[in-house]
């Protein structure tokens, strides 16, 4: 039953988390909760990327005792997605921090975190 292989599980989880994140973003009224949902969304992407890079029973892409320069090609998982994830994580951190800051400002202005209280601009 291939679907019990680790990569399927992680991929499925990633996609599921993606939906969870989206759901949170569009359903939660509280801005902080929205931000949390966003980081769930973000994480789900990381998970997906990693599982994209995974190759069945291969090891980390580092040349050391286990993996030698010569047979690296046959022994390691795909290093590129990992590099991407690294970048993605940092970006996610930045964006989340930014959102929190905005939330902070909005709260200090209107003393509320209900997203639907901020509808002064419309139409």
């Amino acid at each position: 039953m291939k679907y019990f292989n680790i990569e399927y599980i992680s991929m499925a989880t990633g996609l599921f988390l993606f939906l969870v994140g989206l759901w949170g973003i569009i359903s939660q009224k509280n801005i902080i909760k929205i931000i949390i949902s966003f980081s769930v969304l973000d994480t789900s992407i990381h998970l997906i990327l990693v599982s994209i890079g995974y190759i069945r029973n291969k090891t980390a892409p580092i040349i050391d005792g286990v993996v030698s320069k010569t047979d690296a090609a046959t022994k390691i998982v795909d290093p590129l997605p990992q590099a991407l994830v690294l970048t993605a994580i940092v970006i996610g951190v930045g964006v989340t921090a930014l959102m929190l800051t905005y939330a902070l400002r909005m709260y200090s202005e209107n003393k509320t975190l209900e997203i639907n209280k901020y509808k002064s601009l419309k139409w």
Partner: protein
């Protein structure tokens, strides 16, 4: 009620789209052409044992420059937005527990040491500039929480921040001048594979990145920390 059902509908729709991907997904059993190229040539080309590092710092170094910039931006924006609040030099509301005080005194140097170790060895072992930087930042947090010892000098942070970033760019430019292109690490000698002083400019760049990340994160923390007590 109607609203919720609509939202559920939307999520269902997205689920359908994602399911297309999942149904098309079938793991992988061998490297694709590009990663195979990395596996074969990266060690020799860059001299880095950690292929991820090799990719992050050289092949996709441009992305890395970008993400450093993003951290920098975030820090700048947060500073920009929060600094409009009043500058409170934080006074601890209540004096911290004995435990924290002593523990931090012990831990701080070690944390810093670990952080530096991580990013200096980024090209050999797992980890690298970002992890190292994060560890440094955590050290700063500890420092902030336990108000012992000298205060953190903003000037130092900013100088580090500025010059680490600047240095990164300069190294990149040197790549054009001395070697094969922007952010080429062969501006320094590749050295013997697997030793600390190898992989050309990678350790240097990664250290700069580490410092930069550490500085940015701590700056964010410090600034956010200033707002503490405002909201009460």
């Amino acid at each position: 009620m109607i609203r919720n059902s609509i939202l559920i509908l939307l999520i269902a729709g997205m689920a359908w789209i994602l399911f297309q991907e999942f149904s098309a997904y079938h793991g992988a059993d061998k490297l694709n052409s590009i990663s195979e190229y990395y596996a074969k040539n990266a060690p020799t080309e860059t001299g880095a044992a950690n292929l991820v590092t090799a990719i992050v710092v050289t092949y996709r170094g441009f992305d890395t420059l970008g993400e450093v910039t993003i951290l920098f931006l975030t820090a700048a924006i947060i500073g920009f937005m929060i600094s409009t609040g009043k500058k409170t030099d934080r006074k601890p509301e209540q004096s911290n527990s004995e435990l924290l005080e002593t523990a931090s005194n012990v831990l701080l140097p070690i944390l810093i040491l670990v952080g530096v170790y991580i990013f200096i060895n980024g090209h050999l072992t797992p980890g690298g500039g970002f992890l190292g930087g994060a560890v440094l930042a955590s050290a700063i947090i500890l420092w902030l929480m336990s108000a012992t010892g000298p205060k953190i000098s903003h000037a130092l942070l900013e100088v580090t921040e500025a010059f680490s970033g600047f240095g990164f760019v300069i190294l990149g430019v040197l790549g054009i001048v001395l070697a094969g292109g922007f952010l080429d690490n062969k501006i320094l000698h590749l050295g013997t594979f697997g030793t600390l002083l190898s992989a050309g400019a990678i350790p240097v760049i990664y250290s700069l990145i580490g410092l930069k990340v550490g500085a940015e994160l701590s700056k964010i923390i410090i600034v956010l920390n200033q707002t503490q007590g405002e909201e009460k």
